[in-house]
Symmetry: C2
Subunit: 549 residues, 2 copies
Amino acid sequence: MLKLIPLGGLGEIGLNMMVVEYGDTIFIVDAGLMFPEAYMLGVDYVIPDMDYLRQNRGRVSGVVLTHAHEDHIGALPYLLREINVPVFGTPFTLGIVRHKLEEHELLSTAALHEVLPREHLKIGPFEIEFIRVNHSIVDGVGLAIRTPVGMLVHTGDFKMSHTTMEGMLTDVNRFAQCGEEGVLVLLSDSTNVEKEGHTASSHEIGAELARIIQAARGRIIVALFASNIARIQQIINITARLGRKIVFNGRSIEVSVSIARQLGYLSIPEGMEIDIDDLSRYPDDEIIMVTTGSQGEPMSALARMSAGTHKQIKIHDQDTVILSSKFIPGNEKAIGNIINNLYRHGANVVYEKISNIHVSGHAFREELKMMLNLTKPKFFMPVHGEYRHLVLHCRLAGEVGIPEEHQILAQDGQIIELDDNGFQIRDSICAGRVLIDGKGVGDVGRSVLKERRLLSEEGLVVVNMAFDEETGIVVYGPDIVSRGFVFETETGYLLQDAQCVVLEIVEDITPDVPNRVERMRQRIQSALRQYFFFTIGRRPVILPFLVEI
Amino acid sequence: MLKLIPLGGLGEIGLNMMVVEYGDTIFIVDAGLMFPEAYMLGVDYVIPDMDYLRQNRGRVSGVVLTHAHEDHIGALPYLLREINVPVFGTPFTLGIVRHKLEEHELLSTAALHEVLPREHLKIGPFEIEFIRVNHSIVDGVGLAIRTPVGMLVHTGDFKMSHTTMEGMLTDVNRFAQCGEEGVLVLLSDSTNVEKEGHTASSHEIGAELARIIQAARGRIIVALFASNIARIQQIINITARLGRKIVFNGRSIEVSVSIARQLGYLSIPEGMEIDIDDLSRYPDDEIIMVTTGSQGEPMSALARMSAGTHKQIKIHDQDTVILSSKFIPGNEKAIGNIINNLYRHGANVVYEKISNIHVSGHAFREELKMMLNLTKPKFFMPVHGEYRHLVLHCRLAGEVGIPEEHQILAQDGQIIELDDNGFQIRDSICAGRVLIDGKGVGDVGRSVLKERRLLSEEGLVVVNMAFDEETGIVVYGPDIVSRGFVFETETGYLLQDAQCVVLEIVEDITPDVPNRVERMRQRIQSALRQYFFFTIGRRPVILPFLVEI
């Protein structure tokens, strides 16, 4: 039996990581991260729990990457640090991976293997073919995996859209050939299953961008995702037509452009690119700047421009700022604030909500149906989505003719066993999420997050007191200090009154009472909790330090 | 000169409050709140800074409410507690206000005056007429305010949509008559100025709801905004046609339905409504439940159903749950999680993204243009929006023919002086935002929020030590305790090593050093900061308590 074990991505958008297993061989499709949810206070990012791989470390033979977005490669350094297996990917994907591993000081030991679309590689009993897909990054691929029980097709992240950079279209013919050969199971991207119809043509997006840029009288600043090389090429082409100069600003965009250029995926006419420090030598209406920060990231170039703190760029009227990207849910407020501030500086701002300047990289419903009809799988398993996306994608497959008993509605951590006769979903392995905070991997859990939440909501009150060990007399305090609770100059009386509350308890419990300090600690905690809730309606964390000396 | 002073709502969505002033008379249009932004940790809600009213308390003659949404009436209790002025509103608006003031123990002293659409009221030199508008709540009005310098029209929140409950349509004829009479200045709702075209017809929404409900085989649960009485009436009508029973569940919906019923705005056929405790007496396919929680509010009825903790309702397959409301930005994750969990319990879930079951209450661009053309104002001032909405609404007015020099692009706290000859925007008054946390009004400010943020991100480390005052010898500690920092059983060595760091400093600073304790405190703080950042990449708040006894 073939085993599929999703470690992430089947229950959330992001965190994509799938174990494929047959006999003694395991390989992994993607190793992605997820950005923390709002309740994960202080967490930098989230990676899949890799315990299953740790336990089967001897059998893990490789990682195959579909493309270079963080939700597909972000967990790779954490995987390789523990289990150093060969990594397979297309040239641009490995270019980004190289840069990432260098930052993690893992590049020198990593084994990276370049594979091109329509090329094959062998891992144990698996023969894996890369099939080009169109996505919002260059060099994305889906996989056709020939296994002893039949062919598995994994779409990666894809869309069908029929206009893009040369050579970057989804290789529908190859998917069709797989369909003709016979596909046992299709794993397909569910991200946009809620969206009717099909993604807009990037040709139209380019035309709209050109129209806006052509109409602008002053400087133009375009913010977008650093890895969206096709969009960057569109802007370069427009810049060339208008005879403007181009500036790339922002670390991630500089990295991405440099890798794409080296690989020949991006062509910039000689003499067009200038350095940001030479900007002052050109009039505003000869400049197009390409930058980062389209998601409102607080330290990004665009955020600094909107706040007026960017070293080289001061926004003024006549500037046109174009946000050529999606408003990702959760970032809307931050993006909105940046747009408001850009308008306050007098710029004209063009963004997705008011103009047709972005298109998603993930297939809409009509495209998902096309993929199902191209590959004609016997079984269908939706991937890359929250639970509702997976349910809706199963229903969609039903409309295309996959019977319910051939739809595999699986979730992270479940073991799907499969061959030509059927499938079963077996008991789960432990597939949680591991939180990364600073250098700590997994040491921030539920209890630490709960403490952070309590601290964040109402702050903290610390009570300090010392007693003479023998006589029980107070030798210091009560000293009461707060953080994040109240603004003390205005409500200082609150903490003074709290001192009285504490002193009453101390008087009440005479030195001869057994466990006196422990009892005081408990009474102080509950009395202050009541007192603060009664007077000001808040429940700060209360930390009494009572020491005997 | 007429003075307009926006205290809120011109720079944000929500917090709507506008001062209108002529000579010795001030009155206020709306007194709304705003829900806190993500960075306002622990804050319950936000109200406008009312300092200008406090300083001019003797001249404030009334509050006129356009409708009963929280962003228009939520700050009223805080206003009335300080300045008890008469309140004017339509019957449903005052019904909700009465309930709110009762909760704040302010009802007995409040002076509430009912005004109907097309009725007039006089406040000093102002003659104010209520004009019916269609919005996502019943009994909304705009205002035609006749002043000594000319007529001001304030739209309130409105849309033009031509199908709704009987008698709840926007009174376009009256706005047209104002236009014929001559409007000096139009203040118009900017919320949806980013949206092309016009709002969908609520007739279509009703038809879609009916189709979904008719097709459902089991129990039906509809979640919506409690105040959306027109939508509730649609559901009652569908329920009647199908001969089902209806249950209202959730506190706010019960209040809203009861007020609307008393006023005759909602008609429920005899015997249709049943109590939630009688549910078990009816088969599932005879039930329609109307409930709250469509924004993913964690304590709402729908959230408890999805979590499996609702006392009377356990979700199972055959249930159909309909979220007939918008996904408000910021709530998307919470709503998504509820939908995922409802699917996990086997329910079918229908929501805005996959079905046409909600329509906005705010005019889209075509409707905004219609309002401009109906009222033909000399001056135009956009209200109810973030800065970008106000800018875009000014531009839209320009398209309709309001010249740029007649567009008033104002912001919270500015004083707009206006008469037939022109306007000027004068220096600002202090118009900040006041944060409400528990019973505290305004005592949580920037510094407290910053402390909460620091505590929330990396937690807290407390160091406790006591020294003999004379000898300088350590008599207690160092005792090191953390909260929200690390999970101590896994990384306990961190805190042990931190003890050594502290002890080294103590040894280093001999008892004869002047200001010894203060110097130790500073050194401990910076040494621990460095130590934790180096070892684990985090920067907790460090609180050293060093006392001399």
